[in-house]
């Protein structure tokens, strides 16, 4: 179904972090950006669609005005809003927001480390754009910071802090089907496997809370009102977001799942884990009968590699890219 393409070499190897690959497709310029985290550095590659031009950039997580501070980065993600695309970097020190090409930092938010008990790690993790003008970022305390983003400029403000989770946030995702009918437009997951479903707005509304089973949910997606959650046990669960009804349970991987992605136009689901396997599935959601189907389509094995990031490169799922721990390349696959 897919075959391997030429890999893109990156300057450093990928670190073992959840969801460690972000992809931004820029159709007007026939370019795709990829970002991969290595310890305290973000490796950015801009790849032209004809495969002839690659350019690289590196961003370090440094607090501006504090020359000596560096910290480990937990996650990097592109946030696509109607008016602009931004790049969000979350680390142990805080959150940095850049223009999507990484050229200028437009905003910095430092994490408050004072009230955390000393043994608890402090970091930000979990990034998603939602609706027209919000970017949500999770924090190790379980809080979710909601930033209001203007259509241009750096006047980004912290609009709200959502405090529902009690454990560190692992991932956040927004409804990606493009459908206006979905009530829920955001889902957040934490280290206890608990999921919160939200409706965005001036004040975010908690629609539902789906309890976990004491196992970390490392990656989560929301599509057509269905939450797709990947866990440390290697299982994937599909829930109806607003009601919490469990529609499907898949014994998907033999090790901890590190990344999930959905191609919104085709309903293809990508899952990747420490077991070296990337799997492609097909989801069918039929609202009339309130049914959800999952079919397994394809496996790719990245030999001797613990995969840490896997993303589709386009909305149909025609191509996908993969990163692995200690691997200095982005491996690409395209449909035959």
């Amino acid at each position: 179904m897919y075959h391997k393409e030429k890999s893109i070499q990156i300057k450093n190897s990928a670190s073992a972090l959840y969801n460690n690959l972000s992809v931004l497709r820029i159709a007007p310029r026939r370019l795709t950006y990829f970002t991969v985290v290595h310890a305290n550095v973000v490796n950015m590659v801009s790849a032209s669609w004809d495969g002839l031009n690659y350019s690289h950039r590196q961003l370090q997580s440094k607090e501006p005005n504090v020359a000596t501070s560096t910290s480990l980065i937990m996650q990097v993600a592109f946030c696509v809003l109607p008016s602009r695309d931004l790049l969000v970097v979350t680390s142990q020190k805080g959150i940095q927001i850049y223009e999507s090409d990484g050229s200028i930092m437009v905003y910095w938010h430092a994490l408050d480390t004072s009230d955390a008990p000393t043994a608890q790690a402090v970091f930000a993790r979990g990034i998603s754009a939602v609706w027209d003008n919000y970017i949500c970022v999770g924090v190790s305390s379980g809080a979710i910071l909601v930033f209001d983003v203007p259509s241009k400029g750096s006047n980004i403000t912290l609009s709200e802090v959502l405090e529902e989770h009690k454990e560190p946030i692992t991932d956040i995702a927004s409804e990606c089907s493009g459908s206006q009918e979905c009530i829920a437009d955001l889902v957040s997951a934490d280290d206890g496997g608990n999921l919160c479903v939200w409706k965005s707005g001036k004040e975010f509304q908690l629609l539902n809370k789906i309890p976990g089973f004491d196992m970390s949910c490392s990656s989560v997606k929301l599509w057509k009102g269905i939450v797709v959650a990947g866990y440390g046990t290697g299982q994937i669960h599909l829930f109806e977001a607003v009601t919490g009804i469990l529609h499907a349970e898949v014994n998907a991987h033999a090790r901890w799942i590190y990344s999930l992605d959905i191609a919104p136009f085709s309903g293809l689901l990508l899952s990747a884990a420490e077991d070296s396997l990337v799997r492609v599935w097909h989801l069918t959601v039929t609202p009339e009968t309130n049914s959800v189907e999952v079919a397994h389509l394809h496996n790719e094995c990245v030999t001797d590699t613990q995969i840490c990031g896997a993303k589709f490169c386009d909305g149909d799922g025609y191509a996908f890219a993969v990163t692995g721990y200690d691997l200095s390349e982005i491996i690409r696959y395209t449909q035959l």
Binding site: A67, A248, E249, N251, S328
Partner: protein
Amino acid sequence: MSSRTLPLLFINLGGEMLYILAQRLRAQNTPADKAKKVMNDIITTMFNKKFLEELFKPQELYSKKALRTVFDRLAHASIMRLNQASMDKLYDLMTMAFKYQVLLCPRPKDILLVSFNHMDAIKDFVKDTPNILSQVDETYQQLVEMYTPLSSGEFQLIRQTLLIFFQDMHIRVSIFLKDKVQNSNGRFVLPTCGPVPHGTQVPGLIRLFSCTGEEVTRLQFNNGGNYTAALREGSFETFGDRVTKLGTNMYSVSRPVETHMSGTSKNSAQHTKINTAPNPLAKEELNLLAKLMGGLEIQKLGNADSGFRVNLFATDEEEEEALITRPDELSYGVINIQATKDQQANAELAKIMGEFTESGDQSPSASSKGDDLLAMMDELQYVQAALIGEGGWRDIKQGQQAAVSWDIWQ
């Protein structure tokens, strides 16, 4: 990232170090009483109460350089001496072994079982010495108290922190290559077969449910591997069957320890470039190191005859050869100390270093704190050897000034 990583890193690396030293002592036909003394001295130092107190405090992981300093000290806590080439090799083996164990752990929580395997072996080494045994037992308790309440997500954070520490290390180890757990490019084999971790199901099943919760369909898919059901869970108490073999002693007299220096990934050089940029946090690290080393006592060699050298290589020639041919990007680097700035940290370190002086003599001409420190820094044998490029520690004279420039840390 996780502030609870250092104790696990230290105990597991220490455990591997003891396995390797025990094997080398046997291979060199060291008299039993000397061998036992070395093992006991090192274990006593490892489990020194003050030292462990510092270690178990919540803190960020040390840099590779800082940790190497601690282990250099530990390896010299007895009458045994190691040349730089042997110390480098020892450290290579220790780190690659633990990297292997961390990667192959089925669940992040199993890192604790690996740690218990090391602890069990250490306990066995000192089972005839009650006072050291009680220190070891106390450490078991600390491990159980600190780690068994942690969630799966917290263990994964610890694991991720360790994997960042081990990033880009691909040194080939002979035993691993022979057993086919490591490829010739230095990367470990990750099998897609065998038992799944405890708590995980064998992949291959899709279950679909109705709105009322009834299962309506079961589908099977090809999982692309050859997995079997999980084994029983190992014991997380201070004793018991750990089930996993990771962390147990893989060396024996017939399976010698060797590493290959060539064939390392070219990216390791690039990675080292980032690491050797002046580390602005070195000052903080020095403070911690000073506190930590306050608990590490070095053996005063009263009589030159009682000391002896251990070689990690088959012959002296091989050892010398290894020192010369070691690729630059694999040198562990040293802690460069500010000679003039930050008197506080340096004074503390200097005071502790003073306790490490071999024959107990202080350099007589030292008056200013900077001079004191320089003189005492000479006692850090590997610093000297690395900077001047001379042979083993034996060549260094007491009080000899190191003819080097000291980097100034911001």
